[in-house]
Subunit: 384 residues, 2 copies
């Protein structure tokens, strides 16, 4: 018997495989055209199936937690960069993961941590490969490319127990660009920052094999990545309303949605109530920066996850979502009776996805009633 | 060997048992003084151990998902109100849960759903107990207490397959009160709304056994609950920075915190970087409504979870938290070397807790080095 979206519990996380494949093909094309390796950031998908579609079994990945690193290592991925600054207490766990994934790489921007990595690596009988984190303008982590700390960091990592693997940066400020030319400029800043750090390291006699940049916007709009060896976009596999507002994708590219049920009508307050709230959708409202009125997500037809004109999630409580009209028109209640289903495009899919332990995958097939068929369940690795 | 907070992976969710017990005793005292049953909302704790401490094994609970209902039913709790408007497709699951928890109660405010509940109940061979949801000013769900829909709803539920169990309301707008007298006024509105609905039902010949109110602020500050049978506060077991800002608790009452590691220093940007970000803390910024500058959480000493003066989480990315100074002073970097640990009080513990599958419980004991001992792990039921 075919399972369809009409059979799933709500809320559920739905993944459109065809959109996913299109998004992956687009980014693979970008990496090819730019002459760099695609090392996707799996913090978004947290799924071995998605990783395999993006880079093939074993291929290079980026992760945001050691839980992800351990999961992907067990799934056969051996080349993994853990791209959050390393906490010294996590080194024994990292060493254990290296038994399955000898290509595990860490990052730091701190001299005390770099020394701790080398010391613990020696004590643990491993050699940790470490990238130096460079700040290219985001101001979150990383040293400036012209920082006096760069060479001492490289020196601290060139010891038994550690090795310098390269440099890495992330232009997360591209998310707040006003237009595509601004993303292009930020992409060039990202490239120049890490190139400068790499050239300083090489001039001092260090090997700097990996020169890594990456965010979905800069990976999509960089004019050149000359000198760069790899890029680490993550969000692109699914996209979301933030990326659509920024101009990185269309609504029809967003591959993940939340399936919800209408549970009540409130005519006097002009809203539909659904069973997907702040946990099912997340409380991330970032998408409103580029598309005011988006609220907590855009409401779509259940059959094809394309937006219903003018409907958005106006408010969320823990398990309640309130759908209202974006233009203040009367909501068409009759089109959405209690018990009917809707799909909601997420504002920020990295946050929304983290609330679910699996994807229900659809791929264009339907049952006789027109309900999208669920072809698979793919797991996710959440937590730490 | 004693496990302490120094041994745990970061981020981890820490629960202070003594603060929990104090918070529970306080609310039990309120319920006793006001002459109502305490039916705590487990959407916050999602933990059978917390439920048992609050009401004893089997005792009356409120839940926000059927996953919670099923979990508590299996844990021996038989009297459970699922306090989110019912979706008709969930009725078979509810009927299955009633095998373990015959006292399961549903809610609705919609006539079509009420009819569906009665019809499906009859078909499934059960009688669903249903409360009518009343709006007392929040404007999220529920009908007005003087609504023309009240008696038709009661009639639709007085059929084979269903039964009217009472009326229920939630004064969630108390969270946005400016001061305690305003909370007291909202608590009285909450009481009056549901009393009016109950009296109209009784005048029409309906039984209305349960007259249910509840939010943590109104449960704490209601002057009288005459005529009310039960209250359903949830957040009070843990409290959080939002509740502290509102005046419901002190910082020293907040029972849940996130343990994090310092991973870098950024002197130029005057921030400490920790490994707890938007997923570990949540992106809920509601606490800033009452306490501007709170950011994404207050930073505490690891030993006792009391705030370090002037430190708050200024920004979060998925796995990064940036700690800055609330008053713009220089951060005392030397006091927090990389690898050291901190605890962060959450803005909204219902959202933060949902990212973790367990609590690490501390209870005042310490090892020789002064590190709080972990006495237990308590599970949580997340998802749907």
């Amino acid at each position: 018997m075919t399972i369809t979206l009409a059979d799933l519990p709500t809320p559920s996380l739905i993944l459109d495989r065809q959109r996913l494949l299109n998004n992956i093909a687009r980014m693979q094309g970008r990496a090819r055209d730019l002459g760099v390796t695609l090392r996707p950031h799996l913090k978004t998908a947290k799924s071995a199936m998605v990783a395999e579609l993006a880079v093939g079994k074993g291929g290079p990945l980026t992760v945001s937690t050691l839980a992800e690193a351990a999961y992907f290592a067990k799934a056969g991925f051996t080349d993994i960069t853990y791209a959050v600054p390393m906490a010294p207490a996590k080194l024994p766990q990292a060493a254990a993961i290296m038994r399955d994934a000898p290509g595990l790489k860490l990052i730091t921007d701190n001299l005390d941590v770099a020394r701790a990595i080398a010391e613990r690596g020696r004590a643990l009988g491993v050699r940790f490969a470490v990238l130096i984190k460079i700040d290219c303008g985001l101001g979150r982590a990383g040293i400036a490319p012209d920082s006096d700390l760069l060479l001492p960091l490289a020196q601290a990592l060139s010891q038994p127990g550690a090795m310098l693997a390269g440099v890495l940066t992330h232009a997360g400020h591209s998310y707040h660009a006003k237009n595509i030319p601004e993303i292009e400029r930020i992409a060039e800043d990202e490239r120049q920052a890490v190139l400068l750090a790499a050239s300083r390291l090489r001039a001092a006699g260090h090997d700097c094999a990996i020169v890594s940049i990456g965010s979905t916007p800069t990976a999509l709009f960089a004019r050149t990545l000359d000198g760069i060896t790899e890029m680490r976009p993550g969000n692109f596999v699914f996209f979301d309303l933030f990326q659509a507002g920024l101009g990185c994708c269309g609504m029809e590219d967003i591959a993940v949605s939340v399936l919800a049920s209408v549970v009540s009508h409130h005519h006097g307050r002009n809203h539909l109530l659904i069973d997907a709230g702040g946990l099912a959708l997340s409380k991330d409202t970032g998408a409103n920066e580029h598309a005011p009125g988006t609220g907590y997500g855009r409401v779509c037809r259940p059959g094809d996850a394309l937006p219903l004109p003018g409907l958005a999630i106006h408010d969320v409580h823990q398990e309640h979502g309130l759908i209202g009209s974006m233009q203040g028109h009367a909501v068409e209640f009759a089109a959405h009776p209690p018990g009917s289903r809707l799909r909601v495009l997420p504002n920020h899919v990295c946050m929304t996805g983290a609330m679910y332990d699996r994807y229900h995958v659809v791929d264009g097939g339907r049952d006789a009633g027109g309900n999208p068929a669920v072809i698979a369940e793919w797991d996710r690795v959440n937590g730490w």
